[in-house]
């Protein structure tokens, strides 16, 4: 056999980071691009921003206004021009920008002026009371991280389920859901594989194990894909994962 493989890239390879692209487009693109980029940013980050603000001591109304106002600031070209994607992770950039925004609001006492008439996030339609419970014992930064991890997992699970359905792997997803996902989410014992095989007409437990393995691999791929969107190099994917695990280790040890 003759090798036709090439070594591609390296640890310093720069990703096509969608979130950084979004922030540029949100501030400078045409209306359609701007709207689409803004929606993408909001989908991923409004909840962490809101929870962070609540844990900073702002009441519901203030946190709602500040969340709206902050995303207006994100669109401010001056802030975008200051954002340096080579400096690292999008999450860090956003948190730093949020702190700067809060200082600016405090100085100017003009939060209202910065809040656009058109609300980016329809916060009135969201059960905001439910958002404060899980994070009430966390610091603002931890609250941001908790909400960010939760949103990340929601996106991953949604993607993997959609992928399974589009590839005619619905049973794969159901087996993964019954055996792995629901026991974690519902805090219950996992059903025996033999029961799951009977339920879905799978001929052997080995086959059911392989199905779970397949979905786990897709979960892992989706996790890396999402993390790559918010960092600027392969090395930072590892750093991001490390930071997530440190967050859990620190808070679970308490």
């Amino acid at each position: 056999m003759k090798s036709d493989e090439t070594k591609m890239g390296g640890t310093k390879r720069t990703f096509q980071t969608t979130l950084w692209t979004d922030i540029w487009n949100a501030g400078s693109g045409n209306d359609a691009t701007r709207q689409s980029s803004l929606e993408n940013l909001l989908k991923r980050y409004w909840k962490p921003v809101y929870c962070y603000l609540r844990r900073k001591g702002h009441d519901n109304e203030q946190a709602k206004d500040l969340t709206q106002g902050f995303f207006q600031v994100v669109l401010d070209r001056k802030l975008i021009q200051r954002a340096d994607r080579s400096q690292g992770r999008f999450r860090t950039f956003l948190l730093t920008a949020l702190d700067r925004y809060l200082i600016s609001v405090h100085r100017n006492k003009s939060a209202r002026k910065r809040i656009p008439e058109h609300k980016f996030v329809q916060l009135d339609q969201v059960d905001l009371a439910a958002l404060s419970g899980p994070t009430e014992n966390l610091t603002p930064e931890e609250s941001f991280n908790y909400t960010w991890v939760s949103s990340l997992l929601d996106q991953i699970l949604t993607d993997v389920e959609a992928e399974c359905r589009s590839r005619d792997m619905k049973i794969h997803w159901k087996v993964f859901n019954d055996r792995i996902l629901q026991p974690i989410i519902e805090d219950t014992a996992a059903a025996p594989l033999s029961d799951i095989c009977r339920k879905y007409g799978i001929d052997s437990e080995a086959r059911a194990s392989n199905m779970i393995y397949t979905v786990k691999r897709r979960f892992q791929a989706a996790l890396k894909r999402h993390l790559r969107q918010s960092v600027s190099s392969e090395a930072e994917v590892g750093e991001e994962l490390e930071e997530i695990m440190q967050f859990f280790a620190k808070n679970l040890a308490i």
Partner: protein
């Protein structure tokens, strides 16, 4: 029914457990059976549905889309079925060939490498037997020697032994056709 429940509100341990699904070193049947014979591992590879080998399926899907082919019911078929079916598209055999060629370079053990090489040659044998085409840069004379060596391996499963033997004899029956 689509999942409609958010993970927001779960305890930290639960979030950590979910995140761990994305980080764990997955033990597979394949890895669990390192001590098994090459025959056992080869059997697993041949019988596993494409939908249970996402890396292979992804690779094939990209290739098939590039060739303008519809993937259809392929995910439900096993590699063994595809290698022994005269209806298998030659583009698909090329895709399997290239995938296992690459896999043989990154195999974790000699046994895994031998299995990847076996499937690579099985794809070549299938293209000779069913499509009368040599899809490699290796001469048919050389291929026949490799097929003979593989067919004689003690761990070779009967269906591939038969395929390699057919590939060797096909040119003897129709000299110069391939």
């Amino acid at each position: 029914m689509a999942r409609n429940k958010s993970t927001f509100g779960l305890r930290l341990e639960q979030l950590a457990n979910l995140m761990a699904v994305g980080l764990e070193q997955i033990e597979t049947d394949y890895e669990d059976n390192k001590d098994q014979t090459a025959a056992g591992l080869l059997r697993i590879c041949l019988e596993r549905c494409l939908s249970d080998d996402s890396a292979l399926l992804d690779y094939i899907q990209v290739d098939m889309e590039r060739l303008g082919r519809v993937i259809g019911s392929l995910p439900g078929k096993s590699l063994g079925e595809l290698l022994q079916n005269s209806d298998t598209d030659i583009g698909l055999l090329q895709s399997i060939k290239t995938y296992y060629k690459k896999l043989s370079y990154s195999a974790a053990s000699e046994t895994e490498s031998a299995i990847a090489i076996t499937i690579y040659y099985a794809a070549l044998a299938g293209s000779l037997v069913y499509h009368k085409k040599n899809i490699s840069q290796t001469s048919v004379d050389m291929l026949e020697q490799y097929f003979a060596l593989l067919a004689e391996k003690e761990w070779m499963v009967p269906e591939l032994k038969k395929l390699f033997t057919q590939a060797r004899t096909i040119r003897q029956d129709k000299r110069g056709d391939v």
